[in-house]
Structure formats: C-alpha cells, structure tokens
C-alpha cells in the first residue's frame, strides 16, 4: 500500500490549494480526483470574482494553473474515484479507489458538491440530448434556438448569460418570484434582451425522443400548465454535498455538510474538510481556496504533533 503524509480527496479549488500548501510544507501529498480536475470552476466560462484577475479568467485555465502550481511542489495526482475512506487502528487512514489502496496519516476532504437533478420524466432519458448541467460544454449546439435555464441562483444566471451568446432566447424558469443570484448578475440578466424570466413556475416534464423538443411547465400560484418549445434545458437548482464517504467517520450537519471548526478540523482527529463540503461554506472559489490553505496548515500542525510524540517515545525508549 502506498503511504502518504496527507491525502486530499477532491481536486477542486479547495483540494488543489490544500495540495499546494501541503506540498510546500514538504509533506508527501496525493490528490484524488475521479471527475474533472478543478471541480465546478472547470466548467465555468469566466471567473470574475477571483482576486488578481481584473479582466476575469477562464475557469478551466485557472484550474489547470492551480494544478500545475500544486504539482510543481511535488503533489501527486491520482485520477481515480475514491470508493471508501476508513480509519485504521493506528489512527491513519486507508483510501480505496478503483485503482488501488493508499494509506495517509491525515486526510483533507474536499469532495465538494454536485448539481441537483430535477427528478422529473425525461431528465435522465434526454441527458446529453438537450438536458445539460454544463452550459459552457453544450451551449454551442443550440445556436439560434430557444433554450431554458432552470434556477434562480448565481449559477443559473451566469450560465444563462453565457448561453445567450448562442441561443436566440434563454427562458429562465424559477419557482419563486425573486432571485437569489448576486445583484450584478441580476442587473446583467434583466438588461439582456435575450434573457426572459418565467416566475413562480416549475418544470414537470421534459419532452422529446431523440432530443429535447419542449417542456411542460406549471405555475405554482395559479396551477396553470403550459408547454414551452425549447431545444435544451440547463439545470442549476442547487447542489448536494458529496459527503457519503464521511458518514460514520465525522459529524455532518442536517444538509450533509461536514461540521468543522475554524481550523477546518472535523470531529475525527486527522480528518479535515474544506470548501463546499463543509458546513456554512460561502460556496465561492476564493473561500474554498482559503479553506484549503487553512486545512493544510491544520493538517501540518497535526502531523507535527504526531512526529513530536513519536520522537518523545523514541527518547524514552532509548533512555530505558
């Protein structure tokens, strides 16, 4: 079994920053990423709220730069989905992936969150045929067509605005009559002639056989049902934390986020959590990166204490 000082589960903004700090502390560091490196930023067209980039930066380019920076100081990457995380009797951790087993003295859990699904008929059947969670990947296939974006948060408006580059009209379908998104995104969306808002409305069914052709909508206040012809539906209705591996190891809040203190320590010694996975996260890249740095510094303190205890044991043994 390969051994490391610090294993980081998740290669998004929190994980790659934690890796940078851990590797610079000269701790042997490995990052596990089973999906797209960079996590949510990797599919973001333009990141405008990460300091240091006055004109904004492409999310994928930023993710690749973070990866290079972490690797430059010796971080190893394992592009393998983690299947289980266990605590061993000695206090270290075993990480099992579809590629093998690894042991680490400390773990920083940065697995983030995945976009929620609507759970309605047609959603699974038409995924990749007009149902999408990645506007930057798929918007170009709907040039000149009308499309829908579901949701009222930053992701919905940000991605919706991106889609207006291609689509003739973007219908934002939101179940309430106010948006949760940041003011600047709301202002831009209301000013964009290609953005159209459908309030107090939910999608009940996605229609189509080989590709999406229309949506069945229902107004939650009047009960009125309508059909909206669109070629695509982009779904941004919140996220669910990827915390299943933490169950039984660390305490979670009611929403499934890891409970941590200000040093990103979970309830289990040696296990840290950072980024969107942790309770009360700001769910912003810069906050995730900050959490990652804090978690790596805490993990370093934890390992230092273990090393000192081991040395002390050694001194005692020699004296005896």
């Amino acid at each position: 079994m390969k051994q490391y000082d610090i294993a980081i589960i998740g290669g998004g903004g929190a994980g790659l920053t934690a890796a940078l700090y851990a590797a610079r502390a000269r701790r042997s560091t490995i990052v596990f990423e089973g999906k797209v490196t960079g996590g949510q930023i990797a599919t973001t067209d333009l990141v405008e709220n990460f300091p240091g980039f006055p004109e904004g930066v492409n999310g994928f380019d930023l993710a690749m730069a973070m990866l290079q920076q972490a690797e430059r100081f010796g971080t190893e990457m394992a592009y393998e989905p983690v299947q289980s995380l266990e605590r061993l009797p000695g206090g270290s951790f075993r990480i099992t992936t579809d590629g093998g087993a690894y042991e680490a003295r400390a773990v920083i859990y940065t697995a983030g969150a995945d976009y929620n699904r609507l759970g309605i008929p047609g959603e699974t059947e038409l995924t990749g045929k007009g149902v999408s969670w990645c506007a930057t990947c798929d918007a170009a296939f709907f040039a000149g067509q009308e499309v829908a974006v579901v949701g009222g948060g930053d992701a919905a408006l940000d991605e919706g605005l991106f889609v207006t580059r291609y689509a003739s009209k973007v219908h934002v379908i939101h179940r309430r009559d106010t948006l949760r998104a940041s003011q600047i995104l709301q202002e831009r969306s209301f000013a964009n002639p290609r953005m159209s808002f459908t309030w107090d409305t939910v999608v009940e069914r996605i229609n189509g056989t080989d590709q999406v052709t229309s949506l069945d909508l229902r107004n939650v206040k009047t009960g009125e049902t309508t059909n909206l012809p669109v070629g695509a539906i982009f779904i941004f209705i919140g996220q669910t934390p990827n915390s299943h591996l933490l169950k039984g190891l660390a305490e979670l809040d009611a929403g499934g986020h890891a409970l941590v203190d200000l040093e990103m320590r979970t309830s289990l010694p040696g296990l840290f959590a950072a980024g969107d996975i942790r309770t009360k996260a700001a769910r912003q890249l810069i906050a995730a990166a900050g959490d990652g740095a804090t978690a790596a510094i805490s993990a370093e303190h934890y390992l230092n204490a273990l090393d000192r205890a081991a040395e002390h044991e050694g001194t005692l043994a020699t004296a005896r």
Binding site: V36, A42, F60, E80, P81, D98, T127, G130, D138, Q211
Partner: protein
C-alpha cells in the same frame, strides 16, 4: 505512444465506419474544458488498446455533418463503432474516469 488521429466529415466513413478495427471517436471542441480533460485519457486508452481499437477525435466546431447525424448535443461524447456498422455500439456522454470508460468499451466489444 498515444495514437489518436484527427477525423472529419469528409473522412469519417472511410476511416471510422469502414476501418479495419473497431473505432472510438472523441467528439470535442477547443472551448470545452471537460473535453480537454478527456483527451489525455483517450490518449492513454489508445496505448492500452493498440492493435484492437483505432482512436479518432472529431472537432465539432470544424465539422457539422457527423455530429448532426449522431445527434451530438453535449461534449465530450465518445462513440464506439464496430467495423462496417455506422450505428455506434456505445455512446458515452460527459467526462468519465478511465476505469469507467474501459468497462464500457469492454462490455460493448465483448
């Protein structure tokens, strides 16, 4: 050495459908982040399946006919063909880890 050849609307039938081996085609575009993540994995697969499967990539910005024929609405999409058959035996949409891809390929060609 990774061996992933560029294919196009013009050469698709000859190279992919009527090739000597099964063929895996990576539909991609330069602006798609996850496509750039898939590319090195497809490269590694081309080494592991050398002599068993031919590997191709098709730029959906430069080629409209083939993506349209196969109803590509999301990239990355990987389509696997058996020789002489223009209907794919497997369609994999979105980024998947390498282990998943190998499983899908092996099942489709078993």
């Amino acid at each position: 050495m990774a061996d992933v050849r560029e294919t196009s609307d013009a050469t698709f039938t000859t190279e992919v459908v009527n090739g000597d081996l099964p063929a895996l085609v990576d539909f991609w575009a330069p602006w798609c982040g996850p496509c750039r993540m898939v590319a090195p994995i497809v490269g590694e697969l081309s080494e592991e399946y050398a002599g068993k499967i031919n590997f191709f990539k098709l730029n959906t910005d430069e080629n409209a006919n083939v993506p349209s024929k196969y109803g590509i609405r999301s990239i990355p999409s990987l389509l696997l063909f058996k020789p002489g058959d223009d209907k794919p035996v497997a369609t994999i949409v979105g980024f998947r880890p390498k282990g998943d891809l190998k499983k899908r390929i092996d099942e489709a060609l078993a």
